[in-house]
């Protein structure tokens, strides 16, 4: 067991990353934060619309889109991927087109299956994403020499290696590694979209009927959200892989909605969760010597559990204390007309 879990060395785990190799680890943490924040902000709407598992589906089915984009890129560029110098073969435009197409195809297929047959939505989601993901895995294993993606990357990404990518150069100074810069852009864009379309998204998520009557097309909002989700997922894909991205989508928003009921505060808590899980995950990964993306999700899950237990409004512990201290059932209050107002002290009570 001692081999499995390395001894905990405070110096190595907490001090050295920020003294010796801080250049590397800063970028890793920033990348983790941008990924979790961009995914988390989008994920809040998935949770609100009860579409968390559509996010699951899209994160899986982006894989064939990416694989096909890489294939197309390598066919256009000619030749095969040679060693580590693969960056040039990755055509970001193609990747985004592939991901968008995959996202739209997924959404359409799910809708097709569950509207045109009696298969329910949950089964439709399961069938769609597993088929597409299977196609993706087959593509990357059959065309392993042409597709610059390996199975490991699909499973848990490579956020730990982010600093080894070439840097964005601006006027001779190195700003940031390319993936970090791209993810930062996606995060800023997500934040901007959330701010710009705050009320439209809120209304269409809460009550699509009302949204339609206000002139906001719920169908359009749905597809726009799905498209943006595909963009975010594909940007996060290299960093965290196809499956862990689900955690990035759901964990921050879920933790936040345990802590508060107000949407603006949910967004703030989401960002806080993203930042905390990125930092904690990094240290966990250094300690246990395991994939950084996985460790970040484990840290995020730990934060969720903490919120679940200790949240003042809905946590298990405060709830337990309340249950112990108060009566089992709140007494109802009956007014004169015989109407009832269960436990609402604002209503006048008639007692003699």
């Amino acid at each position: 067991m001692t081999e499995l879990i390395p001894p905990f060395d405070f110096q190595r785990v907490f001090i050295e990353p920020w003294t010796l190799d801080w250049r590397v680890f800063l970028w890793v943490v920033l990348m983790g934060f941008f990924v979790a924040a961009a995914c988390g902000l989008t994920g809040v709407y998935l949770i609100l619309r009860r579409m968390a598992l559509v996010g699951d589906a899209i994160s899986h089915s982006v894989l064939p889109g990416l694989a096909i984009a890489f294939l197309a890129g390598s066919l256009a560029g000619g030749g095969t991927v040679a060693g580590g110098e693969s960056h040039d073969l990755r055509n970001p435009t193609l990747m985004f087109i592939g991901a968008l197409a995959a996202g739209v195809v997924t959404t359409l297929l799910i809708e097709l299956i569950h509207k045109k047959s009696r298969v329910k939505q949950d089964a439709a989601i399961g069938i769609t994403f597993s088929s597409l993901f299977a196609i993706g895995v087959i593509l990357i294993s059959v065309f392993a020499d042409k597709v610059d993606l390996d199975a490991d990357c699909v499973l848990y990404g490579e956020v730990g290696l982010v600093a080894s990518h070439p840097f964005v150069q601006l006027g001779g100074t190195e700003l940031a590694p390319w993936p970090v810069a791209r993810m930062c852009l996606v995060f800023l864009a997500t934040g901007g979209l959330v701010l710009a379309f705050y009320k439209e998204l809120l209304v269409s998520s809460f009550d699509s009927g009302l949204a339609a009557s206000l002139g906001i097309k719920p169908g359009l909002m749905h597809y726009a959200l799905m498209c943006w989700l595909s963009v975010v997922v594909v940007s996060a894909f290299e960093a965290v892989g196809a499956i862990l991205v689900i955690a990035m989508l759901i964990l921050p928003g879920a933790t936040a909605s345990l802590l508060t009921h107000r949407l603006p505060l949910i967004f703030l808590w989401t960002l806080a969760h993203a930042a905390l899980s990125a930092v904690a995950g990094l240290h966990l990964a250094i300690w246990l010597d395991c994939p950084t993306a996985g460790a970040m999700v484990v840290a995020g899950a730990g934060l969720f559990c903490a919120a679940w237990v200790f949240s003042p409004s809905q946590g298990l512990l405060p709830g337990l204390r309340r249950r112990l201290s108060a009566a089992k059932v709140e007494a109802p209050q009956f007014d004169d007309a015989g109407g009832v107002s269960p436990g609402n002290p604002a209503t006048p009570v008639a007692r003699r």
């Binding site: 968390a52 087959i138 862990l244 994939p291 809905q314």
Partner: protein, 488 residues
């Protein structure tokens, strides 16, 4: 309930039909002779291939049976969450003695899977988070823990060559004898449980409230099902892999769901589809060199689902489209018959044929459209052209049908104006729809209810059923027939 010989026959046919179908499809995937490969694969001579085949059959049956209950209980994504959640258990089971000991892995994975389902239950019942969020959360968090554990194991000197990474996408070739024994055991238990508790599982899936009210231990059944599901996921892991094992639960069962309306048939068909996709997937990955098995099995299952979705006899899209099309064609034909009747009626039934010109004027269509429509009528033996092809004559069948449609239309108009008190100028559109769907029984009732009225609200004659039946071409010799539109 499972003793239907027809179904077993279908099952056998499916299996038999697989052989040529596969061989034909794989032509270009590999350079070696596909038929030779197929022979090698299915002749059961090679022991390792025999293991693969047996494993695929076992996992297909188990997943198909349990998947059917998962699909009808609308818990498909619980299967997905559970399959991801077993990963840390697999890693811990492996740690037990640093080998792929199937029993240790089985126990570890089953426990982890059950913990996952319990976590989903706890989250949905103690917080405001909805089930989909809880599922996604548990799925990804457990998977992350599993990934970290697996990578930590691989870092160990003994773990590096263990092949634990084969659990991600599945490698049926890696099945060992102990694996197969375990798979056989689980499959036997699942089949026995489904046979024994068929009625309990059925009623608690259909109407859980009623099941509890009749005293069935629904909660126990649910947990038992979850336990079996976790076990099924674990035995399918080796061959299909963590990521895609849920598809083997959902897809064959969903395909079966589209093909039948009875639960016991669904179970059998789902098991057959599971076996078919398992064997097909194993074979395909065997053809390619060392490709992962899971994705091919899933694709084979999706292919079967697609076929059921499109070509299912009752719920299939093609069948539905075909029914719709033939219905609309019938409506077209009946509308033309009605138009011919009107033309004849306007002439007070003097003369026998309706010219295409007259029909054009009445229906506001071009002469070509009318000619086309009359050809369809002729195909159905309801009308003939004259020599010049400019006039239409109804056959006795056509004449009878024409009068029946007109009768339906006018009866319904009269019914709406008399009984439902709708103004006479508002009833035509409604009657246009209903005239094609009124059955003889309803017509009889309508006629009786309207006291065998002879005039519709617009003052036109309503042909009576008695009269129409009298002219039944089947009852009278065709030669002696003197009907309108009959070419003499």
């Amino acid at each position: 309930m499972l003793r239907q010989p027809k179904i077993w026959l279908l099952f056998a046919l499916l299996l038999a039909g697989l052989l040529p179908a596969e061989a034909a499809k794989i032509g270009d995937l590999t350079d070696t002779n596909v038929l030779d490969q197929a022979w090698r694969f299915f002749s059961l001579r090679d022991p390792s291939l025999r293991a693969v085949l047996l494993g695929s059959v076992l996992l297909g049956v188990t997943c198909g049976l349990l998947g059917s209950f998962i699909v009808v209980r609308k818990m498909s994504l619980m299967g997905d969450a559970l399959s991801h959640a077993v990963l840390p258990g697999v890693a811990l089971g492996f740690l037990w003695n640093m080998t792929k000991d199937p029993v240790a892995i089985f126990i570890g994975a089953t426990i982890a899977g059950l913990l996952g389902t319990m976590a989903v239950y706890a989250i949905t019942h103690t917080t405001r988070l909805k089930e989909d969020t809880a599922l996604g959360l548990v799925l990804a968090s457990f998977f992350a823990v599993g990934i970290c554990l697996v990578k930590m194991i691989e870092r160990l000197p003994t773990g590096a060559k263990s092949g634990i990474d084969k659990f991600f996408f599945g490698q049926a070739a890696a099945l060992s004898t102990e694996d197969l024994q375990l798979m056989t055991g689980v499959t036997t238990v699942v089949i026995a449980a489904v046979l024994l508790c068929y009625k309990e599982l059925l009623v608690s899936s259909f109407d859980p409230g009623f099941a509890r009210a009749t005293g069935l231990p629904t909660r126990l059944l649910h947990h038992g099902l979850m336990l079996m599901l976790a076990a099924a996921v674990v035995i399918a892991l080796q061959a299909v892999g963590v990521v895609l094992v849920s598809a083997m639960l959902i897809t064959p069962a969903a395909a079966a769901y589209l093909l039948t309306d009875r639960m016991h048939r669904m179970l059998v068909i789902a098991a057959a589809f599971g076996v078919a996709s398992g064997v097909l997937g194993a074979f395909l990955s065997f053809l390619g060199n060392n490709l992962p098995t899971g994705p091919f099995m899933v694709l084979a299952a999706s292919f079967l689902f697609g076929a059921a979705f499109l070509f299912g006899p009752r719920h299939g899209t093609v069948a539905r489209w075909w029914r719709q099309r033939s219905r609309s064609q019938r409506v077209e034909r009946e509308n033309l018959l009605k138009a011919i009747f009107r033309v004849l009626e306007d002439r007070e039934f003097r003369g026998e044929g309706a010219t295409l010109q007259e029909l054009c004027a009445l229906r506001r269509e071009t002469i070509e459209q009318i000619r086309q429509a009359v050809r369809a009528l002729r195909q159905h033996g309801m009308a003939t052209f004259d020599e010049a092809g400019e006039a239409v004559y109804l056959t006795p069948e056509g004449w009878q049908r024409a009068r029946a449609v007109v009768r339906n239309h006018r009866l319904w108009e009269l019914y709406l104006t008399n009984e439902a008190k709708i103004a006479a100028d508002h009833v035509h559109a409604d009657a246009e729809e209903i005239e094609h769907v009124l059955g003889e029984e309803v017509v009889r009732q309508l006629e009786k209810g309207l006291a065998y009225a002879t005039r519709d609200p617009h003052g036109r004659i309503i042909p009576s059923s008695a009269e129409i039946l009298q002219d039944d071409p089947g009852r009278r010799p065709a030669e002696g027939m003197v009907g309108y539109g009959r070419k003499t």
